[in-house]
Symmetry: none
Subunit: 126 residues, 4 copies
Amino acid sequence: MIVLDYRDKRPIYEQVVEKLEKLIIGGGLEANSKLPSVRALAMELSVNPNTIQRAYAQLEQDGYIYTIIGRGNYVTDKSEWQDGHFKTLRADFTELLKQAHAAGMPQTELLSLIQAVYGENKEDLT
Amino acid sequence: MIVLDYRDKRPIYEQVVEKLEKLIIGGGLEANSKLPSVRALAMELSVNPNTIQRAYAQLEQDGYIYTIIGRGNYVTDKSEWQDGHFKTLRADFTELLKQAHAAGMPQTELLSLIQAVYGENKEDLT
Amino acid sequence: MIVLDYRDKRPIYEQVVEKLEKLIIGGGLEANSKLPSVRALAMELSVNPNTIQRAYAQLEQDGYIYTIIGRGNYVTDKSEWQDGHFKTLRADFTELLKQAHAAGMPQTELLSLIQAVYGENKEDLT
Amino acid sequence: MIVLDYRDKRPIYEQVVEKLEKLIIGGGLEANSKLPSVRALAMELSVNPNTIQRAYAQLEQDGYIYTIIGRGNYVTDKSEWQDGHFKTLRADFTELLKQAHAAGMPQTELLSLIQAVYGENKEDLT
DNA sequence: GTGGTCTAGACCACG
DNA sequence: GTGGTCTAGACCACC
């Protein structure tokens, strides 16, 4: 389900958060489905339960999951975190664009990068 | 010249590096111009000289400045780091684009963000 | 494990880097094995922890070791730095050869030096 | 006569030493010919006379030049320093060879490097 | 316990 | 005066 990279400089709990976030955003985990328990995931990754606990807390705070005490952790519905996520993306984007602009990178290059990722087929627009 | 943000969790020397990088990239500091001395900048920011020293070492290692022992630190010519910097920007960009794509953000939104930063007047194209 | 030479004019951290590099390159330290902790090595060499820390940072930057925060420092796999190291050796070699050539040192002498180091027994060829 | 590289991390007097050594070894300066005076060279390089003084002192100590007080500095005859120089080269060579051997670099590669520098024409042997 | 950062204060080589 | 190194001692985040 998740593969950790111990060479990564970021703390492990952050990696777990990132991986699960991507799974949820990408649709790899259905809304309202149950996540593995803290202890189970900790065991699977050979990691201290505290670390997983921290990751889940973070995910809950960011709105991607909700916790029912004594029951487990569940994936939040898309509609609840979509707005916040878009806002973050937009902010990151403008930040990066400012840098590119300051560095004198031509607009055309950015457009071609978008093309490369989004594909040329117009049907792919969401 | 530089303002530190003590609420920022990143180490101080990294903040200094980032701020100076932006100044150099953005053209706020002329090529071959002299940077403030380690001690002078340390005093100005009320910070230990070692911290500034570390920031300068980092900047030198990344090619943004060069050091002449016993003389001072000087801004490197643009041509020397431009290529590497563009490469970094492109990598960051595609990374972010993948996330945006996975999240289902429409192409049109990205295009309008580019417009907003690069300005609508065609003369501004670099 | 390491012996410092205080008559050497180079900084201590550089000596530590060199010694460890040689150990790693020469195979004296297995891949993925754990290096002594910053504090432990500092104590052993009667040196400030900061100094060792700097040496380890350098080694990591050069790709010879990798660091896991809160766990320790580990030896990188050979395949990751072998190419770069060979390149460096080749460069050093041609530089020295140019000097020897300019000084008028005969080819035969170089060949005999190679013999002396690589051994005359053909089985030793790698 | 000499061009300094201020970006070089080595002290300036060391660069001057190196450049002059190469000139003398390569035959660019005749034996017993007079070197520029300390003050003259200092002026030409826009450098503190102390720096040149130090370089000359180093060269004299290594046997490449000799000083006649009140008259100037002169290039030593080749026969006097040739032995010492060869010894140094041999030492540097074996040191580098040991590293190459430890790293597992094949003999054949070294031989081809020698070929590349010494040229394939056998008449070039000195 | 581990690495990472920071301060305070010192000494050295260089120019 | 400048950068480079080192010590001593401290605090923090991570696991």
